[in-house]
């Protein structure tokens, strides 16, 4: 249960989709272009009702596909508008071409993304394969553990994106967060609006005084510099995300960092995880701590930009570490989060920890405390030297022949 931290905050029971739509109402973008898809549909529906009831000044464009949703959203942003959209799974896949273009054109579009499995087989339930597939498109990615984080992340994302001149997606785990009702603390409209401020783009298409060409062809002589600038902007966005979180904590009282450490400082065994499973894992950590086991957890919140150096430093003392991925990679080797954690450790000279990879929860497959307890149990054996760490991907709760 969320404890209120803001003097003017209001507690209400809301689903993840409802709070994301609520954040969008308060942000009140100039343009929203979106296409419905399970489990993100509600966000668009609720927002459409805000438009129909005159609660927002937003132009809502009910486009005919997600490709057009991202095209219209990024073009509205180029024109000088604050622009947002929302999607999930296949919708994000269809947007893929335009995700790269939004980033390449340095347009600060913000998207509510509900994590869902990707086809085939068709599956509407929660896993992070969709957003993980878009992890290198130049989008800032902020994952949420619960509805409160989803709400707070949406508000912060607008500010981070506009400062970094990069698009940003805020994600929730499909159904687990999107359709789960929780108590959330929301802040007054005027305070949210004051926090994000007015959008003042440097250049925009509707500027009659300074018309310009955007979306040029660039050949061998310029393309590389602009792609370098994009990659650098992502590196620079780390500090921006930290600063915005500090600003947010100062304003509303809720603390955020690029990642969360849970009983990690003295931990000998630890799990790294993203999203709602962190909540389940924290319960397991508490139980183990009661038994005297030095278990800890690291939850990645801002996955792009990836805070590699800091994470490596904070994992330096861990003896055995499990990275839990709610997405597989089909790369023939490890899953996405593991690969980033492993390279972060290696690049920073940290080789003391034994690091194993688990893939779990694909297509909404249940991940229960006992599954996570088993992982910690294995980590304990690895740390004690009684079990060799596996050098391949492990799978949780799946029937393998």
């Amino acid at each position: 249960m969320i404890k209120p931290v803001y003097s003017k905050g209001k507690l209400a029971a809301k689903t993840g989709n409802e709070v994301m739509a609520e954040a969008m109402r308060q942000i009140e973008p100039d343009v929203v272009a979106a296409y419905p898809i399970t489990p993100a549909t509600e966000i668009v529906q609720i927002f459409s009702q805000f438009v129909a009831d005159g609660k927002v000044k937003t132009e809502f464009v009910a486009v005919e596909s997600e490709h057009s949703a991202m095209s219209a959203t990024l073009a509205a942003s180029a024109a000088g508008a604050r622009a947002m959209t929302g999607t999930s799974s296949q919708g994000l896949c269809l947007m893929w071409e335009m995700l790269n273009i939004a980033a390449g054109l340095r347009l600060p579009v913000v998207m509510a993304e509900v994590n869902r499995a990707i086809s085939a087989p068709l599956n509407i339930h929660g896993d992070q394969s969709d957003a993980m597939g878009a992890r290198d498109t130049g989008w800032i990615q902020i994952y949420s553990e619960n509805s409160q984080e989803a709400y707070d992340n949406m508000i912060q994302a607008v500010k981070i994106a506009e400062k970094a001149k990069l698009p940003a997606m805020v994600t929730t785990d499909g159904f687990i967060i999107s359709h789960c009702m929780e108590v959330v603390e929301t802040y007054p409209d005027e305070d949210v609006k004051k926090f994000i401020g007015e959008y003042k783009p440097e250049r925009y298409l509707l500027d009659t005084k300074r018309p310009f060409t955007m979306g040029s062809i660039e050949l061998q002589d310029y393309y590389f510099e602009h792609r370098w600038q994009l990659a650098q902007a992502m590196r620079d966005a780390k500090k921006i995300a930290v600063d915005v979180a500090a600003d947010f904590a100062k304003t509303f009282g809720r603390q955020y960092d690029l990642y969360e450490k849970y009983k990690l400082d003295d931990a000998e065994i630890a799990i790294v995880v993203i999203g709602s499973t962190a909540g389940t894992a924290k319960v397991v950590v508490d139980e183990l701590r009661e038994k005297g086991v030095k278990a800890g957890l690291l939850k990645v919140r801002v996955f792009r930009p990836f805070p590699a150096q800091d994470i490596a430093k904070d994992l330096a003392k861990v003896k055995a570490l499990a990275v839990l991925d709610r997405a597989d990679s089909c790369s023939g080797t490890f899953a996405p989060l593991y690969s980033d954690i492993a390279s972060a450790l290696f690049a920073n000279g940290i080789t003391s920890a034994k690091v194993v990879n688990y893939v779990y929860g694909l297509g909404g497959r249940e991940i229960a405390p006992n599954h996570i307890a088993e992982v910690y149990d294995t980590l304990g054996k690895i740390a004690a030297g009684t079990q060799k760490p596996s050098t391949d991907v492990n799978y949780i709760n799946v029937r393998i022949k």
């Binding site: 100039d30 343009v31 272009a33 000044k57 937003t58 132009e59 464009v61 009910a62 486009v63 005919e64 596909s65 490709h67 057009s68 095209s71 219209a72 959203t73 990024l74 073009a75 509205a76 942003s77 180029a78 024109a79 000088g80 508008a81 622009a83 071409e97 335009m98 273009i101 054109l105 298409l205 509707l206 500027d207 009659t208 018309p211 310009f212 060409t213 955007m214 979306g215 040029s216 062809i217 660039e218 050949l219 310029y222």
Partner: protein, 314 residues
């Protein structure tokens, strides 16, 4: 009708020095369309294609007004985002000027890969003019067939060979497809008559809603003719009734240009290298089939225009 003296006072929004081929129809289309817009502020949107890559090679641009491009299949969706941003910012008093939005796409970006995006934008009723500079094949990637490529044309993906004589199918009638969207203004225009095209652009820009113009745009490279023949070939398309000039205003058809004498289609086909193989004696049946198709379409159009005369308000 547009007036040349008045038009001469309008600013040139597309500068020379772009990299389009000598004799390229597309360059003429964009220049005339932008002259037609006059002093009204315009944001131009383009699909990926010859026109876009030839006018925007970074750090240069041939465009004096704002120009936006993002991808191939989404020019209309893109323009709808810009138009929506304008509506929102205008309503809030943040943008005060009266803007217009012109989108250009080739037949690849319009008839084929961009059709869904175009259909969606037209149905949603965004106030934008979409101009298809239709050169009847994917010219930017090297003359591949499109659904706008006419029967018998030699292209690099439907080439004339020992057993095949170029494209086997008839072209899609996109103008009719746009008319079926029941948008307020749809027109077909041709090259070699600036007044026909510019008048249509001005009518379209004055339309409070979506509008679409399909202009047959000779490509000297893909159609394989001498660059100085662009206007003549454009006119022959109209004079043979292969590409009639007409408009549909709120559902009412008007034919805008009648040939003095309807010429045989071979006069249009003959000067173009892409149809050269059709003039072998054994391919006479293909030429006959093309003529028959043109006659049928022209007949249907005339009947529609007859009905239009009855429906037109006096």
């Amino acid at each position: 009708m547009a007036n040349l003296k008045e038009l001469s006072k309008n600013p040139e929004k597309v500068t020379g020095g772009h990299r389009l081929c000598a004799g390229c129809g597309a360059g003429i289309v964009i220049r005339q369309a932008m002259i037609a817009a006059g002093n009204t502020p315009v944001v131009t949107v383009s699909a990926t294609g010859c026109m876009e890559v030839s006018t925007t090679i970074y750090p240069f641009s041939a465009w004096k007004n704002s120009f936006f491009h993002s991808a191939f299949e989404n020019a209309a969706a893109t323009a709808s985002g810009i138009e929506s941003a304008y509506k929102s910012l205008n309503k809030q008093g943040k943008i005060k000027e009266d803007f217009r939005f012109i989108t250009f796409g080739g037949d690849g970006g319009t008839y084929d890969i961009g059709l869904q995006s175009l259909s969606g934008a037209m149905e949603r009723g965004h106030r934008m003019l979409y101009i298809c500079y239709n050169n009847e094949a994917y010219m930017n990637t090297g003359i591949q067939r499109s659904s706008a490529t006419p029967k018998g044309a030699d292209t690099t993906t439907a080439p004339a060979g020992k057993v095949k004589q170029g494209k086997e199918q008839n072209k899609k009638d996109l103008t009719q497809l746009m008319a079926a969207h029941n948008i307020p203004y749809v027109a077909q225009s041709y090259m070699g008559n600036w007044n026909d095209f510019i008048t249509k652009v001005q009518k379209a820009l004055a339309t409070d809603g979506p509008s679409f113009i399909n202009i047959l745009t000779p490509c000297r490279l893909g159609w394989n003719y001498k660059p100085e023949e662009t206007m003549n070939i454009g006119r022959l398309a109209m004079e043979t009734c292969l590409w009639p000039s007409y408009e549909i205003e709120n559902g009412v058809y008007t034919i805008n240009a009648f040939p003095k004498e309807k010429k045989p289609v071979t006069e249009f086909l003959k000067p173009q290298g892409r149809f050269k193989h059709l003039f072998k004696p054994e391919n006479a049946p293909i030429l006959e089939a093309i003529q028959k198709e043109v006659d049928l379409r022209w007949e249907i159009l005339q009947r529609r225009a007859e009905l239009g005369k009855e429906k037109k308000p006096a």
